[in-house]
Symmetry: C2
C-alpha cells in the first residue's frame, strides 16, 4: 500500500479516515497527472457517443436525460454542469488496452456502463427521495417521478442496444457481463432499502450490499473493454476482481466522506449520511465494536429511530457531531479507513497474474490510488 | 377476413365494434380449441421457467414479483390469480416451430418476452397511477412505489439474463431484437404520457404510440423463437411484421373494449377509458371525423379538460354514455372495428411469403382471429 499511503501526503496529512496516512519510509507519489489525463480521455471519447445515444430517445426523454447528464439546465438552456467523475468510462477504455486493443475498442462498453450507472442513479434518487445530486435538483424533482422511471428505463435499454450493435460474439459476452452487473446493482438497491428498515445490519451484510451497488458495475467497467478486445474469460474475471475490490475501496471512502467529508468538496451537507440515518460501513462497524462508545451509539440510534425524518433532520449540528464522535471512539472511522486500504490491496493483487502492457498496469494502479485518496 | 367475420358469429352476432360482423357467405369458424390449447401450452411450458427465473431475485423482490404474477396474494399465501392471457409466450413457442425447431427452443424467448411485458406493466401502472390490474391491487398499491420501480428493473434485467444464458450467436441476435422492442415499448409509454397532456392527438400519432406499446413486443414474441431456432433475418422480419399488425389489431379491439366492453368480462369499470380520459383510437378517430357529432364531442371534451380527475370520475353514468354515443355517431366505433380488421388482414398477409409447416400457419391464423374477436 505504498502508493496509497504516499498519496495521503498529497492530501496534506489527513485523509477522511482521520489519521495521517504517510509514513516516513514511503515516498512514492500518486501520478495525479496520469489519472486526470485518463479521466479526461474517458470523457472526451465517451461523451460524444453518449450524447448521440441519448439523442435517439423519443421526446421528452432526450431532454430529461440531457438534464440529468448536466448538458442542459432545468429550462433547457445549454449547461456545463458537473457530470460526475466518469471513472467507469475511463476504466472501460483502459480495459480494452489490457487486451492489447485500442481504447476506442472499449467505447461501446464505456458508454453502456455509463448508461447503466445513470439508469440506477435516476431510479435510486426517486426511490430514496433524494432531491439533490451533484449540486443540482434530481430528475424526479424537476421533471416528475414518471419521467425519472421512464428515462431510467430508456437508459437501461439503450445500454444493451449500444453494446449489441456490433453484432459480434464479443458484444454478446460483454452484454452478459453487463446484465449480470445490472442485476447485482438492483439486488444492492433492494438490500439498501430493506436494511434501512431494519434495526441492525451486520458488517458482512453491509459489505455485500456495497459490493452489489458499487463493486459490480466497476468490475464490469474494467473487464468490458477487454472482453470487446477479445480477452478470454480468465483475464476478464481477474479484471472483474480488481474492479470489484476497487469498488469496495471506493465505497468505504465514500462512506467516510458521507460523515466526515468537507461539504465544499462533496457538495453534500455536513454529516450527510448521518442526517439520512444511513447504515453505512462506519455506522455498522461502530455498532459491531466492543468499545463502550458502541453501546452509547446504539442507545442514541434506538431513540433516533423513533423520530420522524423531519424531526431528525432538525437536530442541532452538535447532535450529529456527537454521533460522529461516538463512531470514531468506537474505532470505526479507523477501521473503515483500513478496510479501504485492504480492498485497495486486494484489487491490486488481482491484477498481478494478468499479462498487460506496463503503462496500462501503471494507470490501473494510479486509478486505484486515486479512488482511495479522493476528497469528493 | 373470412375467419374473422365468421368468428363474429361465435360471439353471437355483435363484436365490440357494434355491428354484426357475419355475412351469409362466410362460414369458416375460428378454431377455438386450437387457440386455447396453444395458450395453455405456452403457460404450461413457460410458467415453471418463469417461476425459477423470478426465484433468482433477492428478497423481497422475489415475493413482490410473485404477487404481481398472481402466484401469491398480498399476504404471501399461495394463490392462483388470473395471470393474463399469456399470448406472448404462446407466440414465442409457436415461433420456434416456424423455423422447424421444437417449441422448447423458443422457451428462453418466451420467458424473456413475458418478463419484459411484466416489467412494463409494473412501471406503467406506477406512472399512470393505476390501482387495479386483473381484478387485483397493483404492485405499487400493495408494496409501495419503490418496490414497483425496483422489481420492474429486476424483471427487465432478468429478461436479458435468461436470453443470453445460452451464449449462442442466436441468443445474441434474439437479445438485439428484444432490446429494440423494449425501447419501442418505452417510447410508446413516453408518447402515451405526453399525449395525455395535449389537447389534440392525430390518428397517426395514436397508431404510432399503440404500435410502440403493443405492436413491438408482440412482433418480438412471434419472431424470437424463430431466431433462437436459427431462422434468417428475412423470416424474422416477416414474422415481426405479422406480430406488429396483430398488436395493432389487438389494441384496436382493446380500445373498443375500453369503452364498450362488458365490465364482467374485462374486469374494468364501465366506460373505463372514458373515465380515464384516454385519447384512445375511437376517441381520436371521432375527433378527426367530419360528422357533426365530432364537434359536439370536442366541445364536451374541452369542458371536461377543465375538471379535476375526481370531479370527472364522479360524473353520472349518463354523461359517459353520452360521450360514447357521440363517438359512435361520429362513426369512430365502426372505423375502429374496421381498423382492427385491416390490421388483422395485414398481419396475415405478412405471413404469406414465409415458408412454415401447415399446422403452424393454421395456428398463427387462429391466434390472429382470436385476438380480434376476444371480449376481454
Amino acid at each position: 500500500m505504498t502508493s496509497l499511503d504516499a498519496a495521503g501526503t498529497r492530501t496534506n496529512g489527513e485523509d477522511p479516515g482521520g489519521k495521517p496516512v504517510t509514513t516516513a519510509n514511503q515516498k512514492t507519489v500518486v501520478d495525479d497527472t496520469s489519472v486526470s489525463a485518463l479521466l479526461e480521455r474517458g470523457r472526451r471519447l465517451a461523451t460524444p457517443v453518449l450524447r448521440s445515444a441519448v439523442a435517439r430517445l423519443a421526446p421528452p426523454m432526450d431532454t430529461v436525460a440531457a438534464y440529468h447528464f448536466g448538458w442542459i439546465d432545468a429550462q433547457g438552456r445549454p449547461s456545463d454542469a458537473d457530470g460526475g467523475k466518469a471513472v467507469r468510462p475511463a476504466l472501460a477504455l483502459l480495459s480494452a488496452e489490457v487486451a492489447g486493443a485500442t481504447p476506442e475498442t472499449g467505447l461501446p462498453g464505456a458508454v453502456a456502463v455509463e448508461l447503466v450507472h445513470n439508469f440506477s442513479l435516476l431510479h435510486d434518487d426517486l426511490m430514496d427521495g433524494d432531491e439533490q445530486r451533484r449540486h443540482r435538483d434530481t430528475v424526479w424533482k424537476v421533471h416528475g417521478p414518471a419521467q425519472a422511471v421512464l428515462v431510467g428505463d430508456a437508459l437501461f435499454a439503450l445500454a444493451n442496444e449500444i453494446l449489441l450493435e456490433a453484432g459480434t460474439a464479443e458484444a454478446g459476452r460483454a452484454t452478459r457481463r453487463l446484465t449480470r452487473a445490472s442485476r447485482h446493482l438492483i439486488d444492492g438497491q433492494a438490500q439498501d432499502i430493506s436494511y434501512e428498515q431494519r434495526e441492525r445490519v451486520t458488517v458482512e451484510e453491509c459489505l455485500e450490499m456495497e459490493g452489489n451497488k458499487t463493486g459490480a458495475l466497476l468490475a464490469c467497467a474494467v473487464s468490458i473493454g477487454a472482453v470487446l478486445g477479445g480477452a478470454d474469460d480468465r483475464t476478464a474475471d481477474a479484471l472483474e476482481s480488481y474492479g470489484y475490490h476497487l469498488g469496495l475501496a471506493f465505497q468505504a471512502v465514500d462512506d467516510l466522506l458521507g460523515i466526515w467529508g468537507d461539504p465544499e468538496a462533496t457538495g453534500k451537507q455536513t454529516w450527510s449520511d448521518l442526517r439520512q440515518r444511513k447504515k453505512s460501513l462506519p455506522v455498522v462497524a461502530a455498532l459491531a465494536s466492543d468499545e463502550p462508545a458502541s453501546e452509547k451509539l446504539a442507545q442514541l440510534m434506538a431513540a433516533d429511530a423513533k423520530k420522524s425524518q423531519a424531526e431528525f433532520e432538525d437536530f442541532d449540528e452538535a447532535e450529529f457531531a456527537a454521533r460522529a464522535a461516538l463512531i470514531e471512539e468506537a474505532g470505526a472511522r479507523e477501521w473503515t479507513s483500513q478496510e479501504a486500504k485492504r480492498q485497495h490491496a486486494t484489487a491490486l493483487a488481482a491484477l498481478e497474474p494478468v499479462d498487460m502492457p506496463a503503462h496500462v498496469r501503471e494507470q490501473l494502479t494510479a486509478l486505484a490510488d486515486f479512488v482511495v485518496v479522493r476528497r469528493r
